[in-house]
């Protein structure tokens, strides 16, 4: 597999974590413009732990996910009552605040004679775990997809379970869910924390792939794109967001035909697609039809 393909597949894998994070909130009826902040928190936290304190990647990842979940709760708790655009703007405001905090974060330490650590807008260089552990790009790609497969397995299991139905009911008709005894607030917070942890996990993998992160990596563009991928791919199944990521980064990007016009083509396709499929490609109806045909 050549470097280019490895690169594209790696990016698709990494972006999928963000898209899935946005998707998780979307099926419970919440639209978030801010998952990129938790992606960033995961990246910085794990980067600091592995590069500055020699912590192993799995441990750093767990710590980063915990921090991501905590941050998501801190954002989710005050915004529980909010809906629609209000909630979306609150998440956007929170995400930008977190990004600005990264710009103000100067925390460096000398490790083996080299000054390492986040340096505000200059970024955080030297996250060299892949080199120190001798992990080649192909192996790292495999790691990303193994983790993604585990996440997808978890999602698929939840979808089929009662929890999945309850989550979707939150998105369709929260009053009905509440009247059936569902603790809506606790569930929403749980979902927020899970989505935060998921985005953080993606961030961990991103930081160690790139070896360098900076606050600008985690801006609004990333967030709105992940939301869009989830919506374009379709909200009927876990594979929907993945499809959205693949369609943009994989197909349109991968074909050299569209060089320089990629966004014009992608944008036009998406707008037209949405006219005919407003709930995305793999929306609930399509998924239902597919399940009926193949079961």
């Amino acid at each position: 597999m050549d470097d280019y393909t490895i690169g594209v597949l790696t990016n698709i894998g990494l972006f999928s974590f963000l898209a899935l994070s946005a998707y998780l909130l979307l099926i419970t009826g919440e639209m978030s413009f801010g998952q990129q902040a938790f992606f960033g928190i995961g990246a910085y936290c794990a980067g600091i732990l592995t590069a500055m304190y020699g912590v192993s990647l799995p441990l750093a990842a767990i710590a980063a996910m915990a921090l991501g979940a905590l941050a998501a709760l801190l954002v989710g708790l005050p915004t529980l009552r909010l809906k629609g655009l209000y909630f979306a703007m609150a998440t956007l405001a929170a995400a930008e605040m977190i990004r600005i905090l990264f710009e103000l974060l100067h925390f460096q330490r000398t490790v083996e004679g080299e000054l390492l650590g986040p340096d505000g807008t200059q970024g955080f260089r030297g996250i060299r775990w892949v080199f120190e552990s001798g992990v080649e790009p192909l192996h790292y790609l495999a790691l990303i997809y193994v983790v993604l497969a585990v996440v997808l397995g978890l999602f698929a299991w939840i979808e089929r379970s009662r929890l999945g139905a309850t989550l979707r009911s939150l998105g369709q008709d929260p009053e009905l869910a509440a009247s059936l005894g569902v603790d809506v607030n606790r569930l929403k917070l749980g979902v927020a924390a899970a989505a935060g942890a998921l985005a953080a996990l993606g961030g961990v993998l991103y930081a160690h792939h790139n070896t360098y992160i900076e606050p600008r990596n985690f801006d609004i563009m990333l967030g709105i794109h992940s939301l869009a991928y989830a919506l374009i791919g379709g909200l009927g199944t876990t594979f929907g967001p993945l499809l959205g990521v693949v369609v943009d980064i994989g197909l349109v990007e991968g074909s050299r035909v569209f060089e320089g016009y990629r966004m014009i083509v992608f944008g036009g396709l998406v707008a037209v697609l949405l006219v005919f499929r407003p709930r995305g490609l793999l929306d609930e109806r399509v998924v239902h039809w597919l399940r009926a045909r193949f079961s």
């Binding site: 405001a93 605040m97 600005i100 905090l101 016009y261 990629r262 966004m263 707008a271 407003p278």
Partner: protein, 292 residues
Amino acid sequence: MFVDLIQNTLDGLTSGAAYALLAVGFTLIFGVLRRVNLSYGPAIMFGCYAATWFHVHFQGGLLLLAVITIAGTVLAGAYVERLCFAPHRDGSAIAAMVASFALWMQLEELAILAMPKHLYAFPALYEGRPLALGPFSLRVEALLMLLVTVATCVALHRLLYRSRFGLAVRAVIEQPVAAQLAGIDLPGIFVRIFAVASLVGAIAGYLIVSSSEQVTPMLGMWSTLKGMLAMMLGGLGSLPGAVLGGLALGLIEAHSQWFFGPQVRDLTAYLLLFILLALRPSGLWTTTRSAS
């Protein structure tokens, strides 16, 4: 110290005037169509780029460039309206928003393809030294911005309160179903309000690029963001709220930047919005309007 405070207030009101216009345009679309238009800023950027392109190739006077900016923005706005909002009129608001995101990407790439440099100079609104009023300095551009903003708001007010079109628009804002039942042509209203929003946004955009004397592709996302931020500060869907929200945003930014620098400036605005949303979602100036 006191001088700084007044000076910052003056500067804040100036940038606030631009934010107010951006917020008004954004609110017109949100209040009437009940949709978020992520291509709002990019359409403005498209208009400004059209004027820049014209200036680079043909040289133009201020008024001509303003007209081109407005024409370009209204054209881009019409494109967005047709492709993103007309098809989803009775359908999903989220689909319309994602479609507007897609067109934002299109408009940005179009601008970059036509004008690949990251930054272009834009003719100044006013070439000359700022006015000195005692210890305060007031840029003439600032004065012009404030005047144009006031004039635009007055004109908009007359449109909304002294014309049949305005009456229909207000009816649609208050009671969309009843308005439709009363025979008001909803699609026609939407198209025209979109044009008005584009017009107002274009004026804001032109003022911004001509007083900062530069234009970049980042103008698109920036304008949408400021417009949304100001709208939410002032009160979702309320036009006077949008104006006040814009002015408030300008003031908050000017003062916090003076004391703490540009990063804390942005941090303050977002923190204020977040707290506001957590405590009083309907904005600073509206009373009982609920979110939809």
